[in-house]
Subunit: 267 residues, 2 copies
């Protein structure tokens, strides 16, 4: 098989959700327009294809040939999609984008050339993501397969790393805390303010600064607040003003912070 | 009593911790250098006074006269400090900076002119804060007392609001979630990565984007991740990779996110 430069690689995006949309836009910007979008939802597939200026199909048999297929489908759908792709694209390089799915899923589906292309970022359909700030974690079935995925990743981001399936599993868990759970904390702040008729916007400078601090300090150095100071009086007062899941979370996270602060002092 | 412009107000900072330091630096920048720093710790007081180019003392009787005294001391120390200040500065405007302490503390101490000057931000000694991005919440004992505090606040930030003691209590709780608890989530991500020998830096683009999204989407719209999608398979897998407080927090925060997503669908 002859080697193509990445510009000549025919790429298919399998999936048309948040990640497929953001990745597709970044690829087009980088001059690598996919040859097609494949999704089981006609509406999503056509919307994304229109955005990218490329064809789409809901039928795998109708798709053009490809060199690389990137799947961005739900983890539950992945085993079946992997089987379909392995049959249709037996010579292509098949890669999935899931943090918590091991690379083995491709071997189990019978694929010959495969890997993982995991962009660690939070993707929402209504918010465009600058891929140049997205770390992309690559895994490949063989040393010779890395370059094609690494070159493709390098087209959209300067931050391309190799990571094993185990490392990616922990990266994904860390991302759940640093992104999904941090956002849940914002959501609780939002609820608390809304109940008192206060606008959430007043929180934005604080939220921005809390994130910005980490470019200079470790999370432990950056930690502030009643639990960090061991201020039992305020913690009791605040707990009494909360109820339900929020108060359980208040108690549990405060005990984590206090415990951490204690361990640091002992070091 | 004659009215001064804020430039002519003689300001004393009571306290020399993170907040006093950041506020002091911002005041000096704005051309309002305090006439003195007062702190019971000689080391902290002298360090801050040197930074600000002003005198300091650990003895309240040695302090110069003042028009406004801003306290930035721990909540536990505040009642005693308030009593001392009320005796020494019976004619000055006395204001504290605590989110969760009501304004009444000054009346209880016997003060005549008093209020609250609450900058809602996270202050660490080693990280300078740009006060122009800090919302400052003002409360005063009388309508005539507001202008002096509002003018002082306006010197360091364009975001100056009035808030009652009750509102400030909830603002503080919201800040605990959006800042202190969000940072605890970063800290857990840090621990998880460190255990696997992965650098925390790879998280920064994700953390930045998670915060930046809130300038365009509400926290509920911005929510992503396994719990938001209801992906039980991944949640079980990730829970099995965690232990201790982290796994309890994983379960509890995930159930909050899932519940929230369910309620939204029903609306």
């Amino acid at each position: 098989m002859s080697e193509h430069s990445v510009e000549n690689n025919r790429i298919i995006l399998a999936g048309a959700g948040n990640l497929a949309t953001c990745l597709g836009v970044a690829l087009v910007r980088a001059g690598v327009t996919p040859v097609a979008v494949w999704s089981r939802s006609e509406a999503s597939a056509s919307a994304l294809a229109e955005k990218l200026g490329c064809p789409y199909s809901t039928e795998i048999t109708m798709l053009p040939d490809a060199d690389i297929v990137i799947t961005a489908v739900s983890d539950d759908a992945l085993p079946h999609v992997a089987k379909q792709l392995t049959e249709r694209y037996s010579n292509a390089l098949l890669a999935h984008t899931a943090g918590s799915v091991t690379m083995d899923i491709w071997a189990e589906a019978g694929a010959r050339r495969y890997g993982v292309f995991y962009p660690m970022q939070t993707f929402s359909k209504n918010k465009e993501v600058d891929f140049s700030h997205v770390g992309i974690f690559i895994e490949a079935c063989a040393e010779t397969v890395y370059p094609a995925l690494e070159q493709l990743a390098s087209k959209v981001s300067p931050m391309v790393y190799r990571a094993t399936s185990r490392q990616r599993g922990y990266l994904h868990i860390a991302a759940v805390y640093a992104c999904n759970f941090a956002n849940a904390m914002y959501s609780m702040a939002h609820d608390i303010l809304e109940k008192e008729g206060l606008p959430f916007e007043v929180m934005l400078p604080l939220i921005d600064e809390t994130a910005a601090k980490l470019h200079h300090l470790s999370p432990e150095e950056a930690q502030t607040g009643p639990a960090r100071r061991g201020d039992e009086t305020i913690m009791r007062k605040q707990l009494a003003m909360l109820d339900g899941t929020k108060s359980e979370i208040y108690a549990l996270v405060s005990s984590y912070i206090a415990e951490k602060a204690k361990n640091n002092k002992q070091l």
